[in-house]
Subunit: 343 residues, 4 copies
């Protein structure tokens, strides 16, 4: 059996998750893991999993002719240079989202990928969630008919640390970008125009960084459908991830996943446990599938399930939303034509 040999760059939480998921695939081998801060702890972690090569030197990994593909799990600012470097070395690439906070740079990275003829998959993990896949399947097979309205709710259980807020790129690029991708994934259509309304309801720290913590964005799709996304940085009852697609033949709704189905009836009312806490719990299986499909596609030559084009389009929508929010007017994606500002 042919095996895809992988080098992982970045051994933070998400890098380790990808490593563990790759280890469960007989067709993949984690040949090396690199991290700027690699030390004894990472070495022990790797040893327990049979990963023998641990280094701080990502260049040697990218250059290694025995390695077929690179997982880029390092900080966002390193994504573009690493993509360009890996593409130049002829490696296939899995890159975490967002590719960058700068559309021009994302475009450069995509051009490198195209030029070098390598494959790139972007880590829009939610596309691999069992609930959202079922929605997409029903839309694709026509069960919903023509799409009229798409609704996406996406709320985090806790706001990020204050340190992170200033480097996050803002709610539209950091958080809602997943929902912009979801809107494209579910409908199979492109967004033409957005109108964004933001508010600071949770923590004034967001305002200090010219950001918001609560936002509603409406979407106009090329095919004529409408959409709406709402985001909050803090849902005290937990991670809230729901979508609805409404069309001429019906509607599909998916709600949250829960740790169990227990319903507790007492004199106080009927209670059930909160949804799965956050993305690691909720998208646990989605991460497994995203990794598996990456490997399977490379082996079979089938197209990757999420591409650099998807990253680019989601970033464009996020940029338009940011402009809309600031100018309090609807913004067409076509307006962004030559816009290359950092967002």
């Amino acid at each position: 059996m042919k095996k895809i040999k992988i080098g992982i760059i970045g051994a933070g939480r998400i890098g380790k998750i990808h490593a563990d998921n790759l280890l469960r695939l007989p067709e993949a081998e984690v040949a090396a893991i690199t991290d700027l801060f690699a030390g004894p702890e990472l070495a022990a972690w790797a040893a327990a999993r049979g990963i023998t090569r641990v280094t701080r030197d990502s260049d040697s990994i990218i250059a290694d002719p025995d390695i077929h593909a690179i997982f880029i799990c390092s900080s966002t600012d390193t994504h573009v240079p690493l993509i360009i470097q890996a593409a130049a070395a002829g490696k296939h690439i899995f890159c975490e989202k967002p590719v960058s906070l700068d559309l021009t740079q994302t475009e450069e990275a995509m051009e490198a990928v195209k030029r070098e003829g390598v494959q790139l998959q972007v880590g829009f993990n939610r596309r691999f969630d069992h609930n959202f896949r079922r929605v997409r399947e029903l839309v694709e097979t026509g069960a919903v008919g023509d799409t009229h309205i798409v609704k996406i709710t996406s709320r985090d259980p806790n706001p990020p640390h204050a340190d992170y807020i200033k480097v996050s790129g803002g709610i539209y690029m950091d958080m809602m970008i997943h929902d912009f991708d979801m809107a494209r994934f579910l409908t199979g259509d492109e967004v033409e125009e957005v109108f964004a309304q933001g508010a600071v309801r949770i923590d004034p720290a967001f305002a200090e960084h010219d950001d918001v913590d609560t936002a509603i964005v409406t979407l106009k799709f090329r095919g004529g459908a409408l959409g709406v996304i709402d985001n909050s940085r803090q849902a005290v009852y937990g991670y809230d991830q729901r979508v609805e697609v409404f069309g001429s033949k019906g509607s599909v709704n998916v709600t949250n996943d829960h740790p169990n189905t227990a319903e507790i009836s007492t004199s106080a009312g009927i209670m059930r446990d909160k949804p799965l806490h956050f993305f690691l719990e909720r998208y646990n299986e989605a991460y497994v599938l995203e990794t598996r499909l990456f490997i399977e596609s490379l082996l079979s030559g089938k197209p990757l399930p999420v591409t650099g084009h998807d990253a680019l389009q989601a970033e464009r929508i996020a940029l338009a939303a940011k402009l809309s929010s600031r100018s309090n007017r609807p913004v067409k994606l076509s307006e962004l034509g030559g816009v290359t500002c950092q967002i």
Copy 2:
């Protein structure tokens, strides 16, 4: 026991519903019913209920000193003159929604009501729905905390007849006006700005009358919360009436009512029956309560649960939405200041 004697003007479907609901209240008496087309059929219908006075002459009913209150259930264009006439005669008034399609006229009617010192209740029946009342109660008692986001879904099972479309006042005034009132009711707050996006997805007839059949409207509230309403003229699975209020302490969702709780599991999947078909089924009990509270308030001297001010505010939001949809920009309600155009 004191009884409130009622004259009903307009014996269409909704007039008859109010009559039947009043007949169940020991404190109310339906003294007369009038209709432009009153004939033997209406007489028989009334006789079976012990209503002895049936006439085409609404003037005599309004003038009758034995009658305490008038239910205005005739066509929209008659509402304002009838309110003014009834107010001048010193009658309390229950008027179906919308009061009119012209803000100036609605204002005139409200001034007459105020001048004559009578009470007026407007037929925003959804405020009396068991589900929405529970949401309001939870918001009011603080269970939700500060409101961050309000979401309202409102979809009809079937579009109206083509004849009706042209006189309806359009989706914002005819259909979404209920949701604008709901947004105010649930939050206890006023809308400051709206942005409306409409689309024709169901029937080109809407476009012919400069109307849409699908719409999403975002709202900014005075207190800083955001809101979104989606409307469709046709949900093939039935009347879809859901709301959600999300805040700092949690979220409240209400879904549709169903004719039963049966869940049918077969080899094809798990099925349940569609929601209650349309407003008559869904708001059956809400109509009963709205009538009962009108009578109780008149008897006790407590304020009426929905007033002319509520009608005026909902119409103002609807007008702003219409302007927004046409101009593709957010519209502040303060812009409407002196606007008195027919909408």
Copy 3:
């Protein structure tokens, strides 16, 4: 329009409910109401509803040739003599359940009904519940296939007063009799054998009266299906009324009705309100329908929806359950052949 004129015997809670429901039917007229303790209060109650004849003398009502039907809503011990008296007077009869606590007497009453050629409906109100009717419909139309298992859960929110326990006839005759009727209604089949297990878990007062407060009864049906019923005198979360029919083509489950669909998500979990409190709330509409179908059947000549035979069969099952519980062995209904003991 022909009207059925009714005399109501017994003006307790259930007699008044039937009166109010009959008042909403244009085809029915409540001509008189009698009660052993009729006084000014009842007279006022009746006057407010336009019922002019209020008396303590039930004989004159039964004898009145203008009255077509009698509603027997008095205490259980009066049911049989009143049925015999009303049948002899040629009146149709609606009798509350149970007809009696003595099978021989119930049989005598049924013979009188048959001999005199009058119609009798027994107040098994649950047969008219929207949920259970939907289950029956699905069984009847074959959606469930051949029935394999029937499960019925029936739990009261509060135990009855101690005074009532001793005269109740015990849990099988007083409470589970509804479920025995439900088992026959849902399956359209007859019970052949029962095994009853009871326990005292809530209040020792039940043991003092040779009764139990918690019971599970298994059923064998003539057609080969199995069934199980569980009862509790106290479910602290409210009235619990659920059934399931499982068969060769699938399963139908119905759960409780709730006062609203609100789901409240907070940091403590997800909550909804308890089920509708007790039988008056849950079976409110069932009482309306049971009365309406009684009147409609009398007018149309169609068979009544629940008959004396149904009362007799449910009582036979209850008696068998009581014997089973006492003897700790399964009991066949055929064993009851000549048994006429009071139960």
Copy 4:
């Protein structure tokens, strides 16, 4: 880090599942796998997982001093001799259920385990299911109060092959044994008496082997609670695994797990996908946890979560149920005192 070295006996479906789950545990090592029919296919399967020792000779594995624990995943008739052999060799044991179809033999195996001072865990996988654990937790912490009624529904999607029926031990020993264990697990109490009613509703093949395919068993617990279990060999809508514990303070219900939360509303009704198909899907994570806790307990010296005593008790209840079903009378477990017949 200390590692537990495991030898697996039996490389059928369940043996491979345990192997894969053990491979995910850093504290466990699958040192060898043996199967009577081990061949190139198994060798390849093992090689892909880094398991280097594959053999048909279980004796050498059991005798190997480097191996700490044995997983017995072979056919039921081999369980007892293998337990005795492994215990004599001082190995800890994980044995699939049922230990045997003969109580005397199960007792002999348990005596060997006790005598040799090894640990034995029995594969009652359902105890590790997220739903049932939540129920147990709520019972244990007192949220339900005193237990009054336990209800367990357990239905397979498809009946077993005809060949299996004759060697299965019958529905009570083969299928309901899981539910008997669940009843003990949920309540923390012992069953004193059972009454079993069986029926052949699905396939006459069951009758040919003196077995049934549909059964309801009622239970009396030592502490006074009542219980009921229903089983069917064929639920066409899929694997149906629900429990309810009802007590003085409330009730806990758990329903099935589904592949997604999608609700599809069309003109035909509202639909959702069937439950997870069968035990492999539903108890996927339960198998992982059961293996993990076995390893953790061995390492920490904490008691194993399911013991030989549990196996014995469940088998005793199953035997009593079989006797009850055959004799159509309730059977006390105390009657089984010296009973050692094969069941």
